[in-house]
Amino acid sequence: MEEVKLMKGNEAIAHAAIRAGIDGYFGYPITPQSEVLETLEAEMPWRTTGMVVLQAESEVAAINMVYGGAAAGKAVMTSSSSPGISLKQEGISYIAAAELPALIVNVMRGGPGLGTIQPSQADYFQATKGGGHGDYHLIVLSPASVQEMADFVVEGIDLSFKYRTPVMILADGVVGQMMEKVVLPPFRPRRTDEQVREQCPWAAMGKGDRKHRNIVTSLELDPAPMEVNNERLQATYKRIAENEARCKEFYTDDAEYLIVAFGSIARISLKAIEEMREMGIKVGLLRPVTLWPFPTKEIERLSKQVKGILTVELNAGQMIEDVKLAAECKIPVHHFGRMGGIVPNPGEITHAFLSAFPEAKQN
Amino acid sequence: MAKVKGAVTIDENRCKGCDLCVVACPTDTLMLQPKEVNDRGYHFAFMKNPDNCIGCASCAIVCPDGCIEVYRMTLQQA
C-alpha cells in the first residue's frame, strides 16, 4: 500500500533524494530551502544508503563538490535559493561544459540582490537562458506540488544521466515551504562503484583496470576542437528539445482563451479559471512542466485555437517571451505578475484576465 | 679500490636548454650545445666531459623535463 505522508516540499526533496539512490548532497543554508539540508542531516542517510551529506562553506564550494562528485561518476545534487544559485553559476557552467550529470534545486525567492525570502519566480531567465557563461542549457523542471518536488528528484537525476547534462528543479518558495500530502518514491539502491565504472566509462574515479586515464575538463584552447565540443553540446540540446518538453493542460479542449503559468501560480490560476468558467468564460490553462525545453509546440497549437493568452508569473514578465515566440505574435499575449514576494489570489488573476481581454466577458 | 663510473642519456628533443642540469652537476660533465639546437630551437644539454661522470643523478633529479636517464658502474681497480 502506498504510504501517504504530510510534509514540506523541501523535506520531500530530501526524502526523495535518499530514496532515489543519490550518492551525495552538498549544500549551504539559505532561506527558503534550508529544510533540504536540515532534513538530510537529521535523516543521516550515510548510515543507511551510504549517501554523503555535507554542509559546505559556501554555495561556490557546494556546486564544485557537485562538479567533483559528478566528474567521478556519482549521482550528486545541491540545493539553494536565488542568491545562492547566482553564486553557483560558475560551477553550473563547468558542469554543463564537461557534460556531467547533476541535479540542482533552486527554491526561488524574490530579488534582485538580497531581495526577500518570500516566494518568487524571478529566476526564470537565469534558469532557462543560461545563467552562467557560455552556450549551454539546463533541463529545467518546474514543480507545482510537494508530490512533484519528490517525483522530480528521481526524474531529474535520471534525465541528467540520460543526457549527461545538469538538470535544475526550479521551484518557487511556495512549493518549497507548503505542506501537502506526498507519496514518496520507492527506494532504489545506490549504484555500486563497479556499476559506476561500467555505466560511466568517462568518470574520473581512479583508473582501476582501465588502460587509459580519464580526464574531466572543460578546457580546450584550440578553437577547432572547441567548436566541435560546442557542436556536441548543441546536438544534445536538440535531442532534449525534441524529446523532453512537457506540459499539463486543463480545460483546453474548448478554450477560447489561455492562461500559461508555471509552478505554484499555475494552481492559483487554475482556481481563477474555474471561477471564470462559472461566469461562462472559456479559459484553459497550460502549465509548462519543463521550462527548458519549453513546450513550444503545444502553445503554438493552442495559439491557433484561442483568441488570446495571458501569462501569469511571480515576476515582471519573463516566460511571456517564450510564449510570444511560440504564438508567433499571431494573437495577443499579455502578462500579469506580482513581484517582491507577493502571491496574487485567484480574484486578482481573474481581474487581470478581464482587464487584458474585456471582450471575453461579453461573449 | 672501487671506482664509480657514470653515464647519462639525454632526450635531446625533450630538452628545453634550461641549464639547470649543468648547474647541478658536481663534476663538470654537462654543457649546453653552444650552437646546435633541437627541433624546438633549444640548445640542448650533452656530455661535454663524459669521463667525469660519476652517475650521481643530480642532473636528472633537477631536470624539469625528465630528459635525463642515468647509468652507473662500479669498476674494480688494482
Binding site: G206 | G6, V62
Partner: protein, 253 residues
Amino acid sequence: MTTEEIIQSGKKVYERPRLLTENITHYCPGCGHGVVHKLVAEVIDELGIEDRTVGVAPVGCAVFAYNYIDVDWIEAAHGRAPAIATAVSRLYPNDVVFTYQGDGDLAAIGTAETIHAANRGENIVIIFINNAIYGMTGGQMAPTTLLGQKTATTPYGRQADLNGFPIKISDILAQLDGTCYVTRQAVFTTAATRKTKAALKKAFQNAMAHKGTSVVEVVSNCPSGWKLSPEKANEWLNEHMLEKYPLGDIKNV
C-alpha cells in the same frame, strides 16, 4: 670504459618516471612545475596507487597538469580544487585524491575552499606551488609576492600599504585541527628536490592511512615571470624567497 659501455652494462640508477606521459610539458625552460610533476609521478608509482589516485588540476600554469601524469584527473574552476577533491574523496574513501595548485589558485581566489577543506580534515593531499607570481596570465602579483617584488601589477614593487602583505598560508593551514602534515619544501637544488620527494611520499602515505589533510608547499621559481634565467631564478629563490618562506615541516602529527 666508454659511455656506451656504461649504458649497456651499467645499472640504470635514474629513469624517466613511468607515470609521466610522453607529452612535452608546456612549462617554460627551468620551471619548477616539471620537477614537482616528476616527483608526484614517482611517488604514485612507488606507492602502487596509480589505479586509485585522482588528481585535481587548478587554473594557472598547472592547468594542463592532467596532460602529464598518467592518472585520472579533474580540471577545476579557479580556486575550487579542494572542494572537488573533497567530494571525490568522500564518495570514494579508498581513492587517494590530491590537488595541485598555485599560489593564486590556493591562496587568493581559492582561500575559502582551501581553508575549509583543510579544516574539515578532508583526506586529501594539497600540493601547493608557491612561486610568488601569476605565471599563466603574464606575471601579475600573487598573494605570496614578496614586498618590493616587481610584477606586472606591481611594476614599482609590492608595497604593503597598496597591496597588503605576502601571505604565509601554510602556516595558517598548520593552525587548523584538520591538517595532519604541513611542510614547506623547494626544488631548486638536488638535495632540496630529494627532500620534497620524501615530503610528497609522506603526504600520500597519510592519505592512504586516512590521516586527514596533508599540505606540501613547494617554494618554486618562475624564470619567465621573474625575468631571470633558470639558474639566476633559483639563486633569487634561495636569497629572497626562503627568508620569508623558510623550509621544513611546519606541522607533523
